[in-house]
């Protein structure tokens, strides 16, 4: 599963993207955020308030209770400030 990060989520985690082997216990987007937060200081800092993190699966916005497909690109980022 490919993960991509933007803005301060990217800065805190310290990289723009990575590929992970998703454990079977991770079913939804919320599970993924909780699992990632345990991976180190940068991840913990990025995901300390998971409720503000916006998530897209394969370029589409999703809610945190969305189940993760097996093979997909998951993007994590702060609320958008374009326009």
């Amino acid at each position: 599963m490919k993960l991509v990060y933007f803005a301060w989520v990217r800065e805190r985690i310290g990289r723009g993207s990575e590929t992970i082997d998703k454990p079977d216990s991770v079913v939804t987007v919320a599970d993924l955020l909780a699992w990632l937060a345990e991976r180190g200081e940068g991840y913990a800092a990025a995901l300390v308030r998971p409720e503000v993190i916006r998530v897209a699966i394969d370029h589409e916005h999703v809610e945190h209770d969305t189940p993760l497909p097996d093979d997909c690109e998951v993007a994590l980022f702060p609320p958008m400030t374009g326009g």
Partner: protein, 156 residues
């Protein structure tokens, strides 16, 4: 049948006049063209530029979805959305919406809708470059932008 909007996510500046021309040139059915230009503005004389980060691929896809929804909701004869990324100095353009229609209400409402949605749903993030060279940090999302979106969602 709804029109096909023209979408561009690009680093270089755009030419508003050329975009109006592109939509309306040679046509006799357009009675109203509304443009919205969003510019990089200096809040308190502290800003040099904004750095716009975007999510390549999703930026185009999401703007395309928003534009398609506008083209469904209003009888538009033309619709263009251009959003820049990269380092944008104060005073320069960030975003352009051009909406053309038979009469004025559709163009006004569609352009307004587009901007409200772009602000809260298009994957772009602004970081400040300050005059004093310090890291200005990331611009925070405004609750008022979310509220603007909620109004349209109630109407749909």
């Amino acid at each position: 049948m709804a029109i096909t909007p023209r979408i561009s996510v690009q680093e270089q500046d755009f030419d508003t006049a050329a975009e109006i021309e592109r939509i309306s040139d040679g046509r006799k059915d357009i009675g109203a063209v509304v443009t919205f230009s969003g510019k990089c503005r200096d809040e308190q004389g502290t800003l040099v530029a904004l750095e716009l980060e975007h999510y390549p691929g999703m930026a185009e896809a999401e703007i395309g979805r928003i534009a398609a929804e506008a083209a469904e909701r209003w009888e538009l004869l033309g619709l263009t959305v251009i959003h820049r990324y990269g380092k944008i100095p104060v005073g320069e353009n960030i975003v352009l919406v051009v909406a053309a229609s038979k009469s004025r209400a559709a163009s006004f409402e569609a352009a307004n809708f587009l901007m409200d949605y772009l602000k809260s749903r298009a994957p772009f993030w602004k970081k400040e470059h300050r005059v004093d060279g310090q890291d200005g940090g990331w611009v925070e999302a405004k609750q008022s932008d979310e509220d603007a979106l909620a109004v349209w969602q109630k109407q749909s």
